[in-house]
Point group: C2
C-alpha cells in the first residue's frame, strides 16, 4: 500500500516538477527583484541596484535557490533587447547623429584607455601575455542597458549627455566586437585583416544606414502599410517584426542584437503611436528584472578565493571604473566638466558584455578560472557602482531645470 501511494504521488510530483519550473522561476526572479527594488527606493538608493543584488542573493553565490539556465538567459536577453528598443523609441536619430563627433571621441578613448590599463595591470601582476590581452578586452565594452535604464526611469534620455552616452555606446559596441575578434584571432596565432575589415565595414555601414535613413523611410512606410492591415494591434505587430528583424540583421553583420533593437526603436520613434509605447513598455517591465537579476546571478565568490585574487579584483575594478571615467570624460571634455563627468560615469557599467568576453576566453582556454572570477566581479561591481554615481552626476538636471539646461534638453 505504501508503495502504491508513493507511485501515485511520484507521478503527480513528476508532472508537478516540470510544471512548476516556469512559474517558480518567474515568481522568484521577478518577485525578489521588485522586493529589493522597493527596499532600495525606500533607502533612497537606485532601484536598479536592488534588482541586481536580488540576482546575487537568489543565485548560486548566496542562497542558491536558482541558477542561470536556458530559460532565464533567454528572458534576460529579451529583456535587454526590449529595454534598448524602448529607449530607442524615445530618441531622435537626427539628434544622435548630430552628436556623432563627440560620441566617436568618447567611444574611442573609452576603448583605448581601459584596454591598455587592463592589459598593463595583468602584465605587471605576472600573468601571461594572451590572458592580459583578453582581460584588457573584457574591460572595453560598456553595458549600455544599465545606464539607459537609470536615465529612462528618471526621464533624462533627452539631455545632451544622455544622447552622447547612447551614441557612444553604439560605437563602443562596434569597436568592442572588433577588439574581441582581433584578440580571439591573436589567441589562435594569426590575425585575418581582410576578414576584420569586412566585418568593420558591414557593422559600421548597417548602423549608419539605419540611423541615417531608417526614421525617414518608416515615416513613409508605416502609415501606408498600417492602413492596409486588418490584423489586430497591427502597429505593434509591425514594430515587433522590425525589432526582431533588425536585431537578427545586427548579429549577422557583426554587432550585438541590442544595437539592432535600439536602432529599430529609433527608426520607429516618429511613426508609432502611444499604444505601441504602452504595449512594449509592458513587455519591458516584465522582462528587465530578468536582465538585471541575471547579471547578479552570475556573480561568484571565486574572486575572493585567495588574498592575491581579491587584491587583483580590487585593482581591476578600480582600473575599470577610472579608465572609462577618464577615457570617456576626456573625449567629452569640450562640453564642460559637468557633462564630461556624466558621460564618464554613464560608460562605466560592463555588465553582461564584459562577462561574455571572459567566457569566450575561458572556453578557449586562454583565461584562468581565477582571472575569469576577477572579470565577473568587475562586471557585476561596475553595474552596482554606476547607478548611484549617475544619480549624483545628473542631480542638477533633475532638481532645478533652468533656461540654460533647457538648451541642453533641446541640443
Amino acid at each position: 500500500m505504501h508503495a502504491e501511494i508513493t507511485a501515485a504521488w511520484s507521478f503527480l510530483a513528476a508532472t508537478g516538477a516540470e510544471a512548476t519550473r516556469i512559474p517558480y522561476a518567474m515568481l522568484l526572479v521577478f518577485g525578489s527583484a521588485k522586493l529589493l527594488a522597493e527596499l532600495f527606493e525606500r533607502l533612497r538608493q537606485p532601484a536598479i541596484v536592488g534588482e541586481i543584488l536580488a540576482g546575487i542573493l537568489i543565485g548560486p553565490a548566496v542562497l542558491n535557490l536558482i541558477r542561470p539556465d536556458e530559460l532565464l538567459t533567454a528572458l534576460a536577453d529579451l529583456g535587454v533587447m526590449f529595454l534598448l528598443f524602448r529607449v530607442g523609441l524615445e530618441v531622435k536619430s537626427s539628434e544622435l547623429l548630430r552628436v556623432g563627433g563627440t560620441a566617436l571621441a568618447v567611444a574611442v578613448l573609452g576603448v583605448v584607455v581601459p584596454f591598455v590599463l587592463g592589459w598593463g595591470i595583468l602584465r605587471l601582476w605576472g600573468e601571461p601575455q594572451i590572458e592580459s590581452i583578453f582581460t584588457g578586452a573584457a574591460l572595453v565594452a560598456t553595458s549600455v542597458g544599465i545606464t539607459a535604464q537609470v536615465l529612462a526611469s528618471k526621464g533624462l534620455l533627452h539631455v545632451r549627455a544622455s544622447k552622447i552616452i547612447l551614441a557612444a555606446a553604439v560605437v563602443d559596441d562596434v569597436l568592442g566586437l572588433l577588439v574581441l575578434a582581433v584578440v580571439s584571432s591573436l589567441a589562435r596565432g594569426s590575425v585575418n585583416v581582410a576578414g576584420l575589415a569586412t566585418t568593420a565595414v558591414l557593422a559600421v555601414g548597417f548602423t549608419f544606414i539605419v540611423a541615417k535613413w531608417g526614421t525617414r523611410t518608416l515615416e513613409k512606410v508605416v502609415p501606408r502599410v498600417q492602413e492596409k492591415l486588418r490584423v489586430g494591434e497591427a502597429q505593434f505587430a509591425m514594430a515587433m517584426v522590425l525589432l526582431f528583424a533588425l536585431s537578427l540583421l545586427a548579429v549577422y553583420v557583426g554587432v550585438a542584437a541590442i544595437v539592432g533593437a535600439f536602432l529599430a526603436g529609433m527608426a520607429l520613434a516618429e511613426s508609432v503611436g502611444p499604444r505601441v509605447h504602452d504595449l512594449a513598455h509592458g513587455v519591458t517591465e516584465l522582462l528587465v528584472p530578468f536582465f538585471l537579476a541575471g547579471i547578479g546571478m552570475h556573480f561568484s565568490l571565486a574572486a575572493f578565493a585567495t588574498p592575491s585574487t581579491l587584491a587583483l579584483a580590487v585593482v581591476i575594478l578600480l582600473a575599470a571604473v577610472l579608465s572609462k571615467f577618464i577615457g570617456c570624460g576626456l573625449g567629452a571634455l569640450r562640453l564642460g566638466r559637468a557633462d564630461a563627468i556624466r558621460i564618464g560615469i554613464g560608460m562605466v557599467p560592463r555588465g553582461e558584455v564584459g562577462m561574455v568576453v571572459a567566457q569566450i576566453g575561458l572556453s578557449m582556454g586562454v583565461i584562468a578560472p581565477h582571472v575569469y572570477g576577477v572579470v565577473v566581479f568587475m562586471a557585476v561591481a561596475t553595474t552596482l557602482i554606476a547607478p548611484p554615481l549617475l544619480n549624483l552626476a545628473y542631480r542638477e538636471l533633475m532638481e532645478r531645470p533652468s533656461p540654460e539646461e533647457e538648451v541642453f534638453r533641446l541640443g
Copy 2:
C-alpha cells in the same frame, strides 16, 4: 591563408549562431503567425487559425525551419498563462460562481461522453485496453485558451454562454487532472484512492476559495499596499507577483498553471486600473502567437502514415468534436438551443492539453506511436475547427445587439 580566413570567420560565425538563435526564433514565429493572421483576416477567416497554421508551416511537418525547443515551449506556456490572466481580468468571479451549476453539468458531461466514446472507438478498432483508456483521457480536457482568445478578440467574454464556457473549463481542468491521475495509476496497475481524494479536495478547495473570496480580499488589500509602495509601476508589479504565485500554487495543489493565472486575473479584476490591463496586454500580444504557433508546430504527418491510421484519425477527430458538442451541449440545454450550441462548440478545442496526456502515455510506453500521432492530429485539428464554428454560433450576438441580448450581456 585560406585556413586563417576560415578560422577568423568560423569564430565570428560561432558567436553568431548562438547570438542569432533568439532573434531568429522570435522573428520567424511571431512574423509568420502575424502574416498568416493577416491573410486569414483578409479571407474573412479567424486570425487564430492562421496563427496555428503558421506553426504547422514553419514546423517539422512542412518547412522544418524550426522545432519546438525549450525556449519556444517556455514562451508558449507563458503566452497561454498571460492569455488566461488577461481573460480573467475581464471577468467578475461573482458572475462565474452564479453560473456554477450549469458549468458543472457542462463540464461533467463534457468529460464523460468524450472519454467513453474515445475508449469505445479504440476498443472497437482492436487496440489494447490501457491504450484505449489513455486515448479516452486525451479526449477529455478542453484547451480553453483557443476559445478564450476568439471570444476576447470579439469582445464576447461577457455574454452568458462565454461565462459558462470559462467556468466549465476550470471544472474541466480539475476533472481532467483526476482522470489523468486515475488512468496513469491504472497503467501502473493500482489506483491510490486516498491520494486521489486528497488531490481532488485540494484542487477544488483552492479554486473555490480564490474564486469566492479572492476579489473581495484584493479589493481591500491592493489599494492599501499600493499607496505604500514606491517602486515604479507598483500595481503592475503586484499583479505579476500574484499571477506567478497563484500559477505556482495551482500546480502545487494539482491543477494547471493557467487555472491559477485565470484565477489571479479574476481576483484582480475589480482592483487594478487600465494601466495594468494595457501593460499585461502588451505581454499577451507578444507571447500568444508563440502559444498558437506552438500547437501547430507539434503537428506531424504520422497520422497519415497508413490508410488505417488515417481512418482512425478521422474517426477520432469526429468523435472528439461530436462528443464535446453533444456532452457539453446537453449540460447547457436548459439555457436554450442557441447557448447550448455556443457552449458545445466552445469546449471542442483540445490543443496542448490533449497532447500532454498523449505524451505521458507515450513516455510510459502504453501508447503506440501511431496512436500518439492520431491524438496529436485530433488535438491540432479541433483547435482549427472550433474558431470558425464559434464565429458562426456567436454571429447573432455580434451583429445586432437587441434588448434581449443585453440581458445576456449583464447576466
